[in-house]
Symmetry: C2
Subunit: 514 residues, 2 copies
Amino acid sequence: MNGAESIVRTLVEGGVNTCFTNPGTSEIHFVAAMERVGALRGVPCLFEGVAVGAADGYARMTTKPAATLLHLGPGLANGLANLHNARRARAPMLNIVGDHASFHRRHDAPLTSDIEAIARPYSAWLRTSQSAVDAGQDCAEAIAATQPGRIATLILPADAAWNEGGRVGRIPETGEAPRAGADAVARAIAMLKNGKRTAIILGGRATQGEALMLAGRIAAATHAKLLAQFAFARLERGAGRPIVERIAYVTEQALAQLSAFAQIILVGAPAPVAFFGHPSKPSVLTPEGCDIHTLTSAAENGCGALRELAEALAPPHTRAPLAGLARPAPPTGAITLAGLAAAVGAFLPAHAIVVDESITSGRGMLAATRDAPPHDWLVNTGGSIGIGIPLAVGAAIACPERPVLCLSGDGSAMYTLQALWTAARAQTRTTVVVFANRTYAILKGELAGQTDARQEAHLGDNALLDIGRPDLDFVGLARAMGVPARRVTTLDEFGAALKAGFDSRGPNLIEVPL
Amino acid sequence: MNGAESIVRTLVEGGVNTCFTNPGTSEIHFVAAMERVGALRGVPCLFEGVAVGAADGYARMTTKPAATLLHLGPGLANGLANLHNARRARAPMLNIVGDHASFHRRHDAPLTSDIEAIARPYSAWLRTSQSAVDAGQDCAEAIAATQPGRIATLILPADAAWNEGGRVGRIPETGEAPRAGADAVARAIAMLKNGKRTAIILGGRATQGEALMLAGRIAAATHAKLLAQFAFARLERGAGRPIVERIAYVTEQALAQLSAFAQIILVGAPAPVAFFGHPSKPSVLTPEGCDIHTLTSAAENGCGALRELAEALAPPHTRAPLAGLARPAPPTGAITLAGLAAAVGAFLPAHAIVVDESITSGRGMLAATRDAPPHDWLVNTGGSIGIGIPLAVGAAIACPERPVLCLSGDGSAMYTLQALWTAARAQTRTTVVVFANRTYAILKGELAGQTDARQEAHLGDNALLDIGRPDLDFVGLARAMGVPARRVTTLDEFGAALKAGFDSRGPNLIEVPL
């Protein structure tokens, strides 16, 4: 067995059975090994940003890593922006990056670059395989290193892939996530008993499953407010789930939202800070004097800590105020942002996965879907736009029976639109809605907040913030990549298109001109 | 004046008058300053890979830097693959990367990353401005650092942009490129006199202008053969220029091409090596015992060294064998690769700029255009696909009166197809030909060269090397971004489409299904 095959077999042994890829010559033996072994599904992508974003979506839904297979330094470089997001999402991911054969590197051929230097800022674990004999064990250690939510990058020189002598690696045990310290738990309990107004901010995996339900019980018993960090990876919500309010993006709104709290308990979430610094607004969003306590970091066992809190504070019969099942009426008439949100609330199928990169256009979506049937909500965790459609495709591949709704701004969609082709190839259940306001609207908003009125008026028309002239035709773009698409001009049409899209059980796109 | 304005004014002072950009919030004061100052043209791009690739094309045509304006670590990351190519092209380029305000960095907001670490592998010069007072001078030094062909990256924290106190920087003198040593010149002269079979390999800027003409004279007088490095940045060719043969991509062909030479003189070019290492083929393409002499490195003054050689070896009346003016007849009938090349040869306008990322489909193009009217030929210098269309757009913006022909494979085109929108916005004279073979054909070729016949047959159908199913509709993609497009099914139609495209004096696309 060659080195490439030893890696493929080790991946399969370790439960990694999906590989998002755009391979090149240096990965060709790996591609051949995948075909020989057969148990590692390759998902072709036209651009590496799509591969990495899809691997993130896959990981967020399964909590296990997908592999990516990338072509030398440039292939890795094309994936870095979405790797930035994945790192912030604490998504487990294993990048396999082909490199020149070891004997070829010294010749500085055109594709030569320092791949370790390129990968280092993004990788919690990083290694270059030294030979085919080592490759399998390197891969085994990389798999372990992705847990609980880390990025591992294994660089595979072409000769380490093609040489014989490969051996399937033995995957090290990965321990449980570390428990919160007894002091941290005791302090949280004392805070929740002292009568002060308290918010519990959930992040990491505490926005899901048992941890979320426990947080709901604790909040109900202690009158604490449940919040989610702005950049959460996956929030379980809708009917039957505790109601969790997302911290707002707009600084003024977040300040108002947090102003009431004398205490904050962080469960896997960072302390709330503004997305950007501002000449005259605070970076820290919590009121002065607010007592902020980290119960668990994102790497620690948030669910375990919440269990201890619940045992101390919230008897099992405590009734958390869960979301009910109440959809907005299907809206009609002219398109408004509120109407678009209501339509999503009215038609979102049960167990949907919503990927939200709608930026300015989708700010009413969470409120309108609060009491929709149970669903998961995924957002951009690192602020690097162009994650939405890839994330949706990866989530759909992870959960092929669940409908996926991707809400995207037009600017964001154009970053990694090639993901639509992967959706068509894999026939994923992804409905992509593009809100086409022909502008980087968020920048105009930021500009309005940062400059005086005269300048603002001047820049409202700045050509660099405007992505019309010519307008992008997202229906044409989608169809040209094999994805059925339609444009809607009323809320009635939008609702009907959503319903038809979900019913199609395949990829589809809806353009909403704004 | 604030720090941003001091940079804009310094750029203009330094002759940098074009900025390819996709700005974000952290760059908003820079955008406002551009609008106030007015002399720095902003070219909007939907993706940073487009911005960087266009800046490369601009630099290759003008030998002066364009600026790029990029949004924090992720915006820079999206440009890295084409920065890899630009570094290999020795294109001067000045990247300005916005960062969080200095006081905001410590809060580790979602978009925070180590921008210096991300930029370092690609940047010959790298600095983070510490204040608005420093920003202008930092920029001045960055401009100087781009010469003669280097990448400078200036990181601009948002508060260094918005704070007052900016001062226009004073641009340091940049010296001439260092001369070749007297020994190096003497050795080259001796080699060219000793009667052995000699090749002169041109690279860097020696493929252009006076250097090229001198090389032609020297070759004629000494019976040396003129070659160009495979990954040249810009080769001037066509009628009236010396005939320079490109070193072949395919290892066997390059070995055969170089086998005759006992001596090689390198002028701004690296010694020829294979693009990839191979289990059973050599990395070094020159015959054993070949005497390889570096007359000048790419950073040295190749033209000056060639002038010394010419004075010693080639009297001014030496007649170099220049290309004549002889076009192939316009081909007709069914599409063949040879016929496509002939059509380009038949219709290429005088003073055209050809950007060639046609990979496997375009290998006959150079031969068919050898005696076309004078034109420039630009290729992918770093092997990172997705440079073609951005490079063409940047070259067209640099030289608005010259027609630009971009030859692209379908796989390459899908990397940075968003460049078409910039072409539409700026109405560049770019004719983009996409050879749609629905596959990563080069990989199938590599695979055939690396595996035994049984495996090769098996992988000929590998789904990961195949970008059909569904087929991409490039006509639809182009039109959806505002670029007129047509599909051709015969050579007659292809020729007519080329002619119509050039005549349109605007952006257009031709899809050639193969």
